[in-house]
C-alpha cells in the first residue's frame, strides 16, 4: 500500500516538475508547482513527518504559491503565452542537466547507505516544540531566532522595495 502511494506521489512530483518548467502558460505553471508541493507534502506524510508536512502545506502551498500567483496577476495576463526559448539554449541546458542527473543517480545507486531500521522516529508536536526552543544538546533556539530576524528583515525589505516611490 505504502509502496503504491510512494510511486504515485513520486511520479506526480517528476511529471509536474517537468510540466512546471516547460509549460507555455504561466498560470498553469504555478498550478503545476502547487501540485508538486502538495505531492511533496504527501511524501512527508508518508514518512510520518506530520508537522513538517503541515508546514509545507501552509507555507508553501498556502503562502508562497499564492504570492507567486498574485505576482503573475500583477505582471501578466492570465492567458498570456510565454515566448519560447531558443532551441540551442534548451539543448545545452538539457545536456548539462542530463549529465548532472546521471552522475548523481548513478552515485546514489552505487553507494550503500547504512539504514537504521527498528528505531521509531518521534515526530510528536511535544518533541518538536521542546527541541526547537531548547538551548542544550540538539536544541535549535539559535537558528530559530536567527530565522525570525531574517523574516523580519525580509519583510521590511520587501515593503521598502515594493513601495511606490513617493512623488516629488
Amino acid at each position: 500500500m505504502e509502496q503504491i502511494v510512494f510511486y504515485i506521489l513520486a511520479s506526480m512530483i517528476v511529471v509536474f516538475s517537468v510540466l512546471t518548467v516547460t509549460t507555455r502558460k504561466i498560470l498553469r505553471g504555478a498550478v503545476y508547482l502547487l501540485t508538486v508541493l502538495l505531492a511533496t507534502a504527501g511524501l512527508f506524510f508518508l514518512l510520518n513527518f506530520n508537522f513538517l508536512a503541515a508546514v509545507q502545506l501552509t507555507v508553501y502551498a498556502g503562502g508562497i504559491v499564492v504570492l507567486i500567483i498574485f505576482s503573475i496577476m500583477l505582471t501578466s495576463h492570465v492567458n498570456e503565452k510565454l515566448e519560447s526559448t531558443g532551441n540551442k539554449k534548451k539543448f545545452f541546458s538539457f545536456i548539462a542537466v542530463l549529465a548532472g542527473a546521471l552522475i548523481c543517480i548513478s552515485t546514489i545507486l552505487d553507494y550503500s547507505f547504512k539504514e537504521k531500521s527498528g528505531i521509531e522516529i518521534d515526530t510528536s508536536m511535544n518533541k518538536i516544540g521542546k527541541d526547537l526552543l531548547s538551548y542544550g544538546d540538539g536544541g535549535f533556539v539559535l537558528p530559530f531566532e536567527v530565522i525570525s530576524i531574517l523574516l523580519l528583515a525580509a519583510m521590511i525589505g520587501a515593503i521598502v522595495l515594493a513601495k511606490r516611490e513617493t512623488q516629488n
Partner: protein, 104 residues
C-alpha cells in the same frame, strides 16, 4: 515501508533538482525562474527528511533544517517578488534576457 529505501527518495529529489535547474536555465520570465528555484529548494527538503528518517532516526535535525529551508524560501520569494514587481513598474516587462542594463 520495507520496500521503499532511501535511494527512492534521493532519486526523486535528484530528478526534481535537475528539473528545477533546467527550468532556471531556460525560462525567460523571471517569475517562472523563481518557481524553478522553489523546485530546487523543495528537492533539498526531501533529501533532508529522507536522510533523517532512514539514517539518523534518533533525532530531528533533518526536519528542523527542512523547516528552516521553508522559512528561507518564504523570505526569498517575498524579496524576489518585491524586486520583480518594482522592476516591472520601471521597465514594464520581466524578461530576464532583456534585463541586462548592468552588463559591461
Amino acid at each position: 515501508m520495507e520496500n521503499i529505501s532511501i535511494q527512492h527518495f534521493l532519486i526523486v529529489s535528484t530528478l526534481m533538482l535537475f528539473t528545477g535547474i533546467y527550468g532556471f536555465l531556460t525560462r525567460k520570465n523571471l517569475i517562472t525562474m523563481l518557481m524553478s528555484a522553489e523546485l530546487i529548494l523543495n528537492s533539498v527538503n526531501i533529501n533532508f527528511v529522507a536522510v533523517n528518517k532512514f539514517l539518523y532516526p534518533e533525532n530531528l535535525q533533518g526536519q528542523f533544517f527542512a523547516m528552516f529551508v521553508i522559512g528561507i524560501a518564504a523570505v526569498e520569494v517575498a524579496v524576489a517578488i518585491a524586486i520583480i514587481i518594482s522592476l516591472y513598474r520601471k521597465v514594464r516587462m520581466i524578461d530576464v534576457e532583456k534585463v541586462n542594463e548592468m552588463k559591461y
